[in-house]
Symmetry: C2
Subunit: 335 residues, 2 copies
């Protein structure tokens, strides 16, 4: 690097503490008070101090960086989650390195190893699988803090998580359709990860809580436009439902494609609800009802939880964030 | 890591070469034949050999990883570019670490330093700025291979690039509007980066090549839905154009939002063209004409060029990939 760097000595002077204290804080030594850590990290930020991380991290654990293991970077929600997490981490003095596994659990496992080799202090995990043995082993072996986003890991891997309450939003969405008079409802789901399980339960509970027979159909597949299109086609093949719910933002793209192709009018001939706001749900005519959530907040809270763990908090925590149903003209009485 | 690793000795045995040859290949030694490099890297992949990168990279330059510095991860094109680049890099035995700067050149510069500290072998650069001094200094100081995507760096920074020929696609798009009889055309542009300059030139050339007066208006701003909305509003405020071109996929979201709000019918009351395919351009009724390009190929070619440089090619190269205009019912004769 070209610019002269602040030294650890300058950090100590700025913070008004001993050099050994700076070293202890930066090395992640357990025997450091929160106040001391605050003082040193404030000086680090003010001086824009960058330790020679690579040489240093062979001795220390503190590289001031965090890895974000992403299963599907093509999901537009991810950008908001990343923005929320990055803003929070940057305020805490951390940089973020992202990896993308294209929904391949084997790559997730390799990326966790790679990030560990690069000595990141912590991991944010938006994993492709909740039960892949290689992924679970990599998470278990990771020597640092970790927070899982919207996944429930199998095998009792003790790790903190920030989850969305998909179930209650879906229960309200289905309740809205039932109030309009719909009984034949199709639910299209992606992979059997937490969000799919919870959305399924929301549907089941909405019917059960009103004492209704389960007159719905559920089609599982991948969280992709292709599956959305094929599942929509399958639902229409015999006894078409009067309402359809796309259980993911990638699915609604395929559903709309199929409905447009068949010239079936959304809202008038079939009711449609999607999950999570994307530009298509807003700009479609008519606008599409959604079960929405604050994805930026999801990223922010996950990063904040990770920072607390990096600051010494050891108990795994579980935070659940709300979802809300937003009714729109894509839903009407059954045809 | 928990699993036992292959050793460098096993790699040598598998490749049928001397241990010193494996070491030379992995250290990026210049005096290695392509055939030798191929043999060793094939064995590395077959054995899933992972050198102890961090300790090793203090002596060697070869960490088998590449950094991708991204200016705006919220741009949906990025996912395709990343997929193309990752696929190519993975076949070459490399992993990718991404950073996101939210269009802040200062963060781009910091991320380049961070990736250098983590000893990546090369960089793919989709930068927020083409002339920010900090960014340019960071690129110049980077000790490894680098390829720029769709940017032209100022100050004669000698670096390879893969560019899109935005100009010819835009010239065809404007030609289509002129053929339909439009003369009053509004062009909404994002930041003054290469893609904006080239799109502007395509418009100018289409008018000039037909000997027409420049009866168009150009509104520059940021590549965001907000700018798209406000620029559309400004164009409609006095002497509205009969056709509008959104010079970026983020811009068309705001343009559509404003047109829907005012209940102006696309295709019938105003003609609309956008740049780059996104789900909205496909699913809109009517579908929206676009200047399109193969963004996955852009990522793939950039990664392939980087791999050639990592393999020893030193001359900076400049690759230009085509764009094409796709007419659609969003364009009609002027109202």
């Amino acid at each position: 690097m070209a610019k002269p760097r602040s030294s650890m000595r300058e950090v100590a002077a700025r913070a008004g503490v001993a050099l050994a204290s700076v070293s202890r804080v930066l090395s992640g030594h357990p025997d450091v008070s929160p106040a001391m850590r605050d003082r040193v990290m404030t000086a680090v930020r003010e001086l824009n101090y960058e330790p020679d991380l690579l040489a240093g991290s062979l001795r220390r654990r503190h590289s001031l960086s965090v890895g974000f293991v992403v299963g599907d970077i093509s999901n537009p929600l991810l950008a908001e989650i990343v923005l929320g997490a990055e803003t929070e981490l940057r305020e805490g003095g951390y940089s973020m390195l992202l990896t993308n596994s294209e929904n391949d659990p084997e790559l997730d496992a390799r990326h966790i190893h790679l990030l560990q080799q690069r000595r990141v202090d912590g991991l944010l995990l938006s994993l492709a699988s909740e039960d892949d043995p290689g992924t679970l082993a990599a998470v278990r072996d990771f020597d640092g803090a970790a927070v899982v986003l919207d996944r429930e890991l199998a095998d009792g891997v003790a790790v903190s998580s920030v989850l969305s309450d998909h179930r209650s939003g879906m229960k309200d969405a289905v309740g809205h359709l039932l109030d309009l008079g719909h009984r034949s409802i199709g639910l299209i789901l992606g992979q059997p990860l937490r969000y799919s399980r919870e959305r399924r339960r929301g549907l089941e509970e909405a019917f059960a809580s009103r004492g209704l027979e389960p007159t719905y159909r559920i089609l599982e597949g991948r969280l992709s436009p292709q599956h959305g299109r094929m599942a929509m086609s399958e639902l229409l093949a015999s006894e078409p439902p009067t309402a359809v719910i796309a259980g993911g933002n990638q699915l609604v793209l395929g559903v709309l494609d199929e409905l447009h192709r068949r010239e079936i009018r959304v809202g008038a001939e079939i009711s449609l609800i999607s999950c999570d706001t994307i530009s298509v749900t807003e700009l479609h005519e008519p606008p599409i009802a959604v079960v929405e959530r604050d994805t930026r907040e999801l990223g922010r809270r996950a990063a904040a939880l990770l920072l607390r763990q990096l600051g010494g908090q050891t108990e795994p925590q579980r935070i659940v964030l709300p979802t809300a149903f937003v009714p729109r003209p894509s839903c009407g009485p059954p045809n």
